[in-house]
Symmetry: C2
């Protein structure tokens, strides 16, 4: 089996397990599973859940495409690949919970192969609408521990900082959420190099539930009202701004007219915009701003388990 096939197998397997796990967690709604194929391009499987008890919208996509020539955007960055045939395989997921206290979650892993060259990219990040110190600490420590299990392959410090900078909404001067990790063009030579990176990514897939589920456990049953829902929708408007204005994957997908519905599965189920929203000073809404700037959460001296007073 060649490398891209091996990664596709890993991603499809991960998708099946994760979709089942999220479905179980939701307890009410189930994922619609749609395989797709396009002649001369490849195919994939889009899994979407809408209107659940826990998840207002969730999508877990796998795609495995190939082409006769690397896309211009890749060729421009890596001239030695220009004009060569390629394969691109990836999994990506976005979960938008219904409860405003439960954060949205995004992760993706991708594998690109052209000639003898290959590389991995990916990342995981969290977007709370209300900030909780213990959630941020748990999330970042879980990601750091994952990286620490792969010395020589993963670089947590670098990836954390790349994530902070990638998920920034420039025009708002704030991050989309609390970040996580983000890496790209990760490669090595020889079969051992591939095996080590495949193991990193396989472990990354297994880290998703470890990073996110304990946070959902703490947040999805918290009572909330109209005001919290309104704030959630405003924050989701920022999420939409990031995806449509800055996200490279979304822009690339829209420009190349890929599977639009699969690309935009990352969009929130509902979002709102209002003029010059300014939360009350010292409110939980105002407190969110301190979460939207780079901060060393994994290294925070102690998990601050204090809950924000409601």
């Amino acid at each position: 089996m060649n490398l891209s096939d091996a990664m596709a197998e890993l991603f499809y397997g991960g998708q099946s397990r994760l979709v089942r796990a999220f479905e179980d967690y939701d307890g009410e709604a189930s994922f619609r599973r749609e395989p797709w194929q396009r002649a001369g391009l490849g195919g994939g499987r889009v899994c979407t859940l809408e209107g659940g008890r826990v998840f207002e919208r969730a999508g877990v996509n796998v795609s495995a495409v190939s082409g006769a020539q690397v896309p211009p955007s890749v060729g421009a960055q890596l001239p030695e690949t220009a004009g060569k045939p390629f394969r691109a395989t990836g999994i990506s997921m976005v979960l938008h919970p219904l409860n405003p206290y439960a954060p949205s979650f995004h992760a993706n892993f991708r594998f690109f192969e052209t000639g003898d060259a290959w590389w991995f990219g990916g990342g995981l990040d969290l977007t709370p609408m209300y900030g909780f110190d213990d959630d941020a600490v748990h999330f970042h420590r879980t990601l750091r521990d994952w990286c620490d299990r792969h010395p020589g392959t993963a670089d947590h410090e670098k990836w954390k900082s790349a994530c902070d900078s990638y998920f920034t909404i420039e025009h708002r001067g704030e991050m989309r959420g609390i970040g996580g990790v983000f890496f790209d063009h990760l490669t090595a030579t020889g079969p051992d190099g591939f095996a080590a990176h495949r193991a990193l990514v396989a472990d990354g897939l297994d880290t998703i539930l470890a990073a996110y589920r304990p946070i959902l456990d703490r947040r999805t049953e918290l009572p909330y009202g109209e005001a919290e829902r309104r704030w959630q929708l405003i924050r989701r408007g920022r999420y939409a701004e990031f995806n449509l204005v800055y996200d490279r994957g979304t822009m690339f997908g829209l420009q190349t007219k890929g599977n639009i519905e699969a690309i935009l599965i990352s969009m929130p189920p509902m979002a709102s915009w209002a003029y010059d929203v300014r939360p009350e000073p010292r409110s939980p809404e105002a407190d969110l701003s301190r979460f939207l700037q780079p901060r060393d959460w994994a290294g925070a001296r102690a998990p601050q388990v204090k809950e924000l007073s409601r």
Copy 2:
């Protein structure tokens, strides 16, 4: 009084009249009027209304800014202006009605002056969530009549086609709405040339209510339910996609970190995304698609007054 001052006076006057007219029309909510000034840039007045009886969100902005050097985007297009001081004055408005049968409306007029050179740009366009032939015919005929009152200055055919092409959501293969008119870099020489163009724009401001109000009259009281609201929010998601992915004014504003809240006043108050929404064949929702492709509405043989059956 110089040209930019004359235009600013016209735009501020138009803003006051329009804001009052929309407020009267709404009958419940009123506009928040916020003048702003930024040292070394200029100022403006943002007028916003939210949560009205007729309008869920409305914004009417005037800005009058100046700079020591024309922005790079202008200098690149018109090399003779590069590096020169400039003044830019404009009015823009977006109205998002609450009733799903009432279309969203957008208009803007702008005046740019650098050295001895000046030009106008602007346009008006309509975005229905449900298509009504008579609304489309009325809207386009009103705009054509406005252009016809300014022979030698306006070019309806060209501007209508520019609007169809500008307000296209490329990745969806559809227009944002039914178009209208769109023009840019409109100039002339001598004081008569300016006077004729100023008159065109002044008349354009007066055309806004003539074009939009009769449509609101027919739609804002129509009864609707959850299904129509859901469809409206999905269509507003497309509106948000256009604004954030393609609209030049929005992109320019975000990149230059202008008055973000004023720039994003065009965003819908509430929007939603769902996976692969496909209206029932022959439903009013499905019928919208024939409105989202270029069509000669003003020249349509007769105003088709048939209402879609609900």
